[in-house]
């Protein structure tokens, strides 16, 4: 039989929350930051492999799908992190209410997403063609 939890802590699924778009973009900034660190470690591992393993050469791995995937993930994450980081810097610099409001407006959020999608498509084209 159901009993009301009263004052006891309750589990609330994160799916129940509806975050504003700026909160989602800010969370994505952190997530892409972590993706960048993981990519950096992967690049370093690759460089070590090329330098130390006698059978692995730079020209043999440049067109491998895993390396192309790494390039795509790295530049897609970097372009997003750069764009939203630029927005963070602008928001911290321009503190006048009107400018601050404009930088944090929904239109700027959607413009950021649009520019990022365009950049990512360019990255995919550059890497895979």
């Amino acid at each position: 039989m159901y009993s009301h939890p009263g004052n006891r802590p309750r589990f609330i699924s994160i799916k129940e929350f509806h975050f504003p778009i700026n909160a989602l973009l800010s969370a994505a900034h952190r997530i892409t930051g972590v993706v960048l660190i993981v990519s950096l470690i992967a690049y370093i591992a690759l460089a070590n492999l090329i330098l130390l393993h006698p059978l692995v050469t730079l020209e043999s791995v440049t067109s491998h799908w895993l390396v192309l995937l790494l390039h795509t993930g790295f530049w897609a994450a970097l372009s997003y992190h750069w764009l939203s980081g630029l927005r963070h810097l602008l928001a911290e610099h321009f503190l006048e209410p009107k400018l601050y409001e404009m930088i944090n407006s929904k239109n700027v959020s959607f413009a950021l997403i649009a520019v990022w999608i365009f950049t990512t498509i360019t990255v995919i084209y550059q890497v895979w063609s």
Partner: protein, 121 residues
Amino acid sequence: MDLNIENASLSGRKAHIWQRISAIYLMFYIPFLAAIILQLPASPTLSELSNKLSTMTLSTAFALTSLIALILMVVHAWVGVRDILIDYAPRVHVTLWLTIYRSILALVLINCSLITLSLFS
């Protein structure tokens, strides 16, 4: 509860300033890096790559800015993930996670230096 932190070392101000300095530098460096990468041959050998990097125009500027970028990138990555760990890791394990992460970043720096040395020496 008084939330004003008097102790300067705990205020996070220094970390925030370093985060901003590194962000501003990397904001200019990343487009420069992208422009340099676009000039590189599509499928080079290792010696071709190091030759191209050391003979191209702006090679000295690229080497110098890349060295500063590497150091500031580590600073940026340290402050960013430090904040994430402080925000989300269980409090009893934060110190351990920070130590592990600091060690990973130190290894990244050492490894990057060794890679650079073996490429250009």
